[in-house]
Point group: C2
Chain length 266, copies 2
């Protein structure tokens, strides 16, 4: 058994993983745009079906791509300070939230114009649950970060929950998109879908790419090999923190994510 | 800051989490059975739509409930030996695989009888991908466990991948079920679905319960608080292993899952 065998599975693994996720995520946004533009008549904001077309584009761009990138931020920028990463994480999440709300308004506005029922389908139930949980996650994240009583140690207990539910809601967002794709195809091309109509194949492929993006984001942020190392300043702060608390370490060896500095980077 | 605040979020958290997952998982199986029996005419194995009804039941029972329980096995039975857990994990996965294959045969057999197209929908693409990846996960797990050249250290490098992709495939299985539910409702009750027909509400609720089951299984196996502690015999083996390898520990402090004994328990 050589060290080479026992080294990382792939030395450039993080770059490959992040690069792959960006290729998949951007492909999803582009394919959604092409689908709506080429097969569904393009975009408008006039209460027509062209306004509906804003819905899939906004959701794939906001609630999947930007949301996923916000999660990735802490792994990609390994040499930046924690405040830079924090600003990036928050900015990407803010963009994701605003674009998602625009996408939600688009579909409700279209339904109102066409006098169609709202909120009856499994897609709508999962979609609205995704957005609600995303807002809860936002408020909890801000609350634990801004609330003066939330000490570093209490925040460090919250971080694993924030990490887990961040990924779970991303998974639910992807599942909601899959449901939306399937519903749209069954509404629009039911007669030709079973004959492998090009629109159906394109949209199905979009579904698989969305799954790939979600899995790759999840993989990147859960593999310990890819975890952002502390920089020298943070190492010094960590030692200072240990001295202040009089403990061996705030982070138990089996709780790598429960580190106040790692939390601060979020 | 008191210790109480810094203790586990909930002392009986593991029991609640596992108990909750079982309530959700069993509810999913029962509701699927009730949906097919009460609204779709029951079950048969004669190439008719009653044979199709076996498909959702088998997939929810095998590819979601039993699969999820196989993943949970290592956290629930904290006081059992590793070989007992290993047998349970493998047996549950074997049951999941066999039942899923029966469910797959049911839908292909129904399609053949009704001369319907196969494999054109996003549900079918995601479903078949789930089953393929599940088989790959099975073969990789068996291979790394049985292959004589796969040393404990090499296996310990594989375990985080096995853990991650196990959960990812479970997530994909749940997403495939959601797509199947949505598709079935749009095929069968399109005119009454927008009026909140009871069948639609029941099936939508099933979708949300499936999501809840998947999230709870994921939560249970990723929270460090719930990790199975080593028993005294395993502790002794661990020390022996360290002596043999001449290393401080095979498990780096930031790689809690990469422990050969934890791997052996899988």
């Amino acid at each position: 058994m050589t060290d080479r065998v026992l080294g990382p599975w792939c030395p450039g693994g993080l770059a490959l993983s992040v690069g792959g996720s960006q290729v998949l995520g951007l492909s999803c946004v582009i394919i959604t745009g092409v689908w709506m533009e080429h097969y569904r008549g393009g975009f408008a904001w006039d209460g027509s079906s062209l306004e509906f077309n804003m819905h899939p584009l906004c959701m794939v761009l906001g609630l999947v791509f930007l949301y996923g990138d916000a999660i990735l931020a802490s792994r990609v920028f390994r040499n930046e300070g924690k405040s830079t990463i924090k600003v990036l994480h928050t900015t990407l999440h803010l963009g994701a939230l605003v674009i998602s709300v625009v996408g939600l308004v688009a579909v409700f506005s279209f339904h109102a114009g066409a006098k169609m029922a709202d909120m009856y389908s499994l897609h709508s139930w999962c979609g609205i649950l995704t957005l609600l949980l995303y807002c809860v996650q936002w408020l909890m994240g801000l609350g634990f970060h801004l609330f003066p009583g939330a000490s570093a140690r209490l925040r460090s207990r919250y971080l694993p929950l924030h990490d887990f539910f961040g990924l779970a809601v991303l998974g639910l967002a992807v599942a909601s998109c899959l449901l939306g794709i399937s519903e749209k195809l069954l509404f629009d091309i039911a007669p030709t879908y079973p004959n492998f109509a090009p629109e159906g194949i394109l949209a199905n492929a979009l579904g698989l790419l969305l799954v790939g993006f979600g899995v790759l984001v999840g993989y990147t942020v859960t593999q310990e090999d890819f975890r952002r190392p502390l920089n020298p300043e943070e190492e010094a702060l960590s030692v200072h923190f240990k001295t202040l608390t009089g403990e061996e370490s705030v982070t138990a060896p089996d709780r790598p994510f429960q580190n106040p500095l790692f939390l601060a980077a979020h």
